[in-house]
């Protein structure tokens, strides 16, 4: 139903557009940061880090717009949730941007290494994370809580990949101590991607809150066992 005060709708539309645009930028930044790692492309890494400043500025723009709407319109109910939701989404996107920046930072260290093992796992994780970001942003724009829930459940796959990549990198390090340096960097890259996935699930939760005024009924899925994973020499002898 149309609102009597149309300027209010325009404000809310502007807020949502700004959050969605910020999301698009973060989605590209995440992809670029991983591409820079894979290609060990120092220029691309530098550009990716610069984009982060733009992302930080966008969060501030969203905060200012939200503050103005709160002050001038006294929003309630679904309007209030739309504004609170946009603020929270902007915060999660900003964090995702920071993680992407951290990924890009590792390119210069990795560029000195002739051959990297474990990149395939990184690429797979990043591909999944990127599609997760795209899906939660689409669910936000379309107000589609079903799509948000589907994306939210898929974070489990990223967590599983993270655990498995963690084991893989540990194995390389045990086989050849010269790999410890780059594998450690790759571990951090994997961790950053895993955190990006977590922020994407936060956004899915926010979409549900905006649309329904409640949280998801089920508890958050998690299959990230990297923090409790140990690879000992027996594992290596068995070739796992």
């Amino acid at each position: 139903m149309e609102r009597t005060v149309k300027a209010f709708d325009n404000d809310l539309d502007a807020l949502k557009s700004a959050a969605a645009a910020m999301g698009g930028l973060v989605e590209a930044q995440v992809a670029d940061s991983v591409r820079a790692v894979v290609r060990r492309d120092i220029d691309l890494a530098a550009r990716t880090r610069e984009v982060d400043e733009r992302i930080d500025d966008m969060e501030i723009e969203i905060q200012d717009l939200a503050q103005r709407i709160l002050a001038l319109r006294s929003p309630v109910a679904s309007d209030l949730r739309a504004i609170l939701g946009a603020l929270h989404i902007a915060r999660d996107l900003e964090r995702m941007g920071d993680h992407a920046k951290n990924i890009a930072k590792r390119v210069s260290a990795l560029s000195t290494v002739a051959e990297l093992q474990g990149l395939n796992g990184i690429v797979r994780m990043a591909r999944l994370a990127r599609s997760l970001i795209k899906d939660v942003l689409d669910s936000y724009v379309n107000g589609d809580t079903e799509a948000a829930l589907r994306a939210w459940r898929r974070d489990e796959e990223i967590d599983e990949m993270h655990t498995s990549l963690f084991r893989e990198l540990l194995t390389y390090m045990m086989e050849d101590p010269r790999s410890i340096s780059y594998c450690t960097h790759l571990l951090f890259v994997a961790k950053n991607i895993e955190r990006i996935g977590d922020h994407a699930t936060n956004i899915a939760e926010i979409v549900h809150f905006i649309e329904e005024g409640s949280r998801f009924a089920e508890s958050r899925p998690t299959s990230d066992d990297a923090s409790v994973t140990v690879v000992d020499s027996t594992d290596r002898e068995q070739g796992t």
């Binding site: 139903m1 149309e2 609102r3 009597t4 005060v5 209010f8 006294s74 929003p75 309630v76 109910a77 679904s78 309007d79 209030l80 949730r81 005024g213 409640s214």
Partner: protein, 267 residues
């Protein structure tokens, strides 16, 4: 800023005693039906706000609660309204006595053309509630005190009530209504003729008054309902669409019509 009207998180609040109860209340003005089957519990020591667009029936409902509709010839009220479990529409019930128990404050401050003192003393006098001047003095002082007006008028009790500012006049009317020690106070748009500061003082007062009284307030200002009440009922086209805790109504209402109204989507 007023800081009253904090949402009552106390779980015991949900179990607050029901002071007044409307059961299937319908009101007709001649052939036209203004209210349809309203069921509403008014909880004790709680501020219940009634909101809704003009003509939705909220004032009509409020006026049922102390039989103010009796004075309108063509008005007919069906259903039952209970005060402490007793039907207030029982023919034997004395409406003067009822209105002493269920007082009312109107939209426009309407002090009598009498002194400030006599405005407040009027009710206790006609109900014969006091014996002697000193007792009446005390009731007048306590009532003005409770209405937050005593300090401003203590030295000018002999001046006409109509000489006060709008906000003071409204607080005088509140003092007048609480002088007869009512159990329930009905307020019909009590701040619509007041400026923001005077409004804030009345809202602060409403929050204090609920310690001793049960309050039902009709307001056009949704922000006011959100600020002062613990329970909110939304009326539309003569129906009570939704009633619930005020924080729930303003954050996540159940009914789409409530959502549309509070977010400004009603034509």
């Amino acid at each position: 800023m007023v800081t009253n009207g904090q949402q009552d998180e106390n779980p015991a609040h949900a179990a607050a005693r029901v002071k007044m109860q409307a059961k299937k209340v319908a009101v007709f003005y001649g052939e036209a039906q203004a209210l349809h089957d309203v069921d509403l519990d008014i909880r004790e020591h709680t501020v219940t706000a009634l909101i809704g667009p003009s003509g939705c029936g909220k004032s009509t409902f409020l006026r049922c609660l102390n039989r103010m509709n009796d004075v309108i010839d063509i008005c007919r009220v069906e259903g039952r309204i209970m005060l402490d479990g007793e039907d207030i529409n029982t023919p034997s019930l004395d409406t003067v006595h009822l209105r002493a128990r269920v007082g009312m404050v109107f939209q426009k401050p309407n002090p009598f053309p009498k002194t400030i003192y006599d405005n407040v003393a009027y009710g206790p006098r006609i109900h014969g509630m006091t014996s002697g001047k000193s007792e009446l003095d005390e009731v007048v002082e306590t009532s003005l005190e409770r209405a937050g007006l005593w300090k401003e008028v203590r030295d000018r009790l002999d001046e006409p009530g109509t000489g006060l500012s709008g906000g003071q006049q409204q607080r005088l009317c509140i003092a007048r209504s609480i002088a007869v020690n009512p159990e329930v106070i009905l307020m019909d748009e009590p701040c619509s003729a007041l400026d923001p500061i005077a409004t804030a003082r009345i809202e602060e007062l409403i929050d204090e008054l609920r310690t001793n009284f049960t309050i039902v307030i009709v307001t056009h200002s949704m922000q006011q309902a959100a600020r002062v009440s613990q329970r909110t009922g939304f009326f539309h086209l003569g129906e009570l669409v939704e009633v619930g805790n005020t924080d729930q109504i303003f954050t996540n209402p159940d009914d789409q019509r409530t959502q549309d109204y509070i977010t400004g989507r009603f034509g």
